[in-house]
């Protein structure tokens, strides 16, 4: 039994415009000490799914299961859920400035967390807060503990958030885009702190991000989400080097590579993510997919094991055999290249004609 097992999670919201299907049948699991990366564009449902698991989405219609240590979080009473939140599952969020309460001292906020779940004196809790701040690499923690969030730098705030989330040695840490609001140099520091704590305490991490670089840095397994559902699931190296789903391929092609040919342009994924109120028929990615064919429009592909591996699944109708899939890629890329050549020619002609 894995530590956290999410099964067929559905989350939808009633809005004035219609029912927003934010998460549609998401299944994933994470083991103790492991890191799972959930990656996807804005609105792919990655934050909603984890927040729903922890009961932080008000007014949502939820179905499915989320078993944590074998107990379904989705059917727990408020009281039971409260004893899990913070104590067993720590959470950190995207923007550390708005996530910390502006009116209370950083130390006070950590002390509050400690004292909400354990019976310790204020002084002991404060000492714990100082230790935690030291642990996440905040200089002069004895003084910093009495400062307010706005007196911290962005990176320090996020480290303070991590210190707070880790205060009670939770067995699971849900990190919802923890590096998105930070400078690149600070991002690396924050990820280092998380990895260090994971090694020290054996915490499992659910890392939500839209940054493939973060995934490459920290994840053991990866779930690629699109339009509220998993498109591809694989171990990290497999995903980076032997990906199957065209959406994953698109995500990777849109990352700048150091040392790559600088005259070559980055390849964006054309189009925009679909409306979660009115989803396209068949595969939700088909309107943006260069490989799409008839079946993609007609039928929704289920997650299938691909490349002959049980730990690699992809929701795509393309051949599951890796060599066939690669052949298809070569063929489509040749077509795309030819097409872009024609486009440039046409554009050139057009400028000549207009000139």
């Amino acid at each position: 039994m894995a530590l956290l097992e999410v099964e067929d999670l559905h989350v939808s919201f009633n809005t004035a415009d219609g029912v927003v299907k934010a998460v549609r049948g998401l299944t994933f699991s994470v083991d103790r000490g492991q890191t799972i990366g959930i990656v996807g564009e804005s609105g792919s449902g990655k934050s909603v799914s984890t927040q729903t698991i922890m009961g932080l989405t008000a007014g949502a219609r939820v179905s499915g299961e989320a078993r944590f240590e074998g107990q379904n979080l989705l059917t727990m009473s408020d009281k039971e859920l409260r004893s899990v939140r913070g104590a067993k599952v720590g959470m950190i969020f995207q923007d550390p400035l708005s996530s910390l309460h502006p009116y209370y001292k950083v130390g006070w906020q950590i002390v509050e967390m400690v004292r909400a779940h354990t019976n310790v004196s204020k002084a002991a809790a404060k000492n714990r807060a100082i230790d935690l701040l030291r642990l996440v690499g905040i200089p002069k923690p004895e003084a910093r503990v009495d400062e307010y969030p706005h007196q911290f730098s962005g990176g320090m705030r996020q480290r303070a958030m991590i210190a707070m989330a880790m205060a009670l040695n939770p067995i699971l840490l849900i990190a919802d885009e923890p590096t998105t609001a930070l400078d690149v140099t600070v991002q690396a520091q924050v990820l280092d702190v998380m990895e260090r704590l994971q090694q020290e305490f054996g915490t499992a991490i659910v890392m939500i991000t839209h940054d493939m670089g973060v995934i490459a840095d920290i994840a053991d397994d990866v779930v690629v989400m699109y339009a509220g559902t998993a498109m591809e699931k694989a171990e990290r190296r497999e995903l980076f080097y032997h990906n199957h789903h065209p959406y994953t391929e698109g995500l990777l092609a849109s990352i700048p590579q150091p040392g790559a040919d600088r005259t070559k342009r980055l390849l964006p994924i054309h189009g925009t993510p679909p409306s979660l109120i009115q989803l396209p028929t068949g595969c939700p990615f088909h309107p943006r997919c260069p490989y799409a064919f008839d079946k993609c429009v007609a039928e929704t592909p289920p997650l299938r094991s691909v490349h002959g591996r049980t730990d690699h699944e992809s929701a795509c109708w393309l051949p599951t055999d890796e060599s066939e899939r690669v052949a298809e890629r070569t063929r489509v890329q040749a077509v795309l290249a030819a097409q872009s050549e024609i486009d440039t020619e046409v554009a050139k002609d057009l400028t000549e004609v207009t000139a």
Partner: protein, 319 residues
Amino acid sequence: MLRFLVRRVLLGVLVLFLVVTLVFALFYLYPSDVARTLAGRQATPETIALIQARLGLDQPIYVQYGRFLWGLLHGNLGYDYYHQVPVTTIIAAALPKTLSIALGASVIWLVLGVLNGVVSAVRPRSVADRTLTVFSLFFYSLPTFVLGLTLLYFLYFKLTLAGVTFFPPGGYVNLADDPGTWFRSLILPWLTLALVQAALYTRLTRGSLIDVLGEDYIRTARSKGLGEQRITYRHGLRSALTPIVTQFGIDLGVLVGGVVVTESVFGIDGLGFEAVRAINDQNSPVIIGVVIVAAAAVVVANIVVDLLYAVLDPRVRLN
């Protein structure tokens, strides 16, 4: 912080000075027939001139203004034209009454308004929220005198007819003389003012708290496994208080300057009551006196509000 305070106080003094000057100009430029009224119908022009000289009204305006300011600096607001009572004495008698009404009512409306607002905000669009909204709008749209007279009708008139004489019909007893009667005589004026104001504070708290409860740090508080009570009050309401404190400062400041309608309905001769009487009598020194007290109350209330901001929000304190 100290520099900020000094600056605010100096600014407040300047505001007071401008208000005083403006009011002085208004009443002294306006043709006054106080001397004629005082002298009576049969008075000769000589008598009137004599009275005018005695009141100092024959002096050029700048001399009158200079004398007035000089008096003001010495804490002397001049004398009532009709009874030669110092204006400060009149105010000293009226102010405690108005303060009793305003402060008592403000405590009631603040507690009532904020608590109702919290109930509404925690479950927006619930039955409780909708009921409170209807009540709020009902009382808010009710003129003070209607509410005051209605309360008097039922709680004094009807109740007394039924043999229960708990509420007096009006009037005022000093707190020091008889605290029990003081309290009883003020309950109806307090309710009259508080019910109308509480409605406003319910709406204000509701709106402010709903905004705050959508903040990221509230989600953080939930993710920490804190109880809903603690999240609502310690994390939510604390931040939602800022606009409420602002409104409260303004309201209280304005009320101290006179609760005209309520005082009239319940026959309490507070500042508002005195002001109305003075205006009818063209009793300028009293009018100016009341205006100065009212303006000072607003200025002081605003300074206190600014200080409270600093207490509430550490970001204000440190910048």
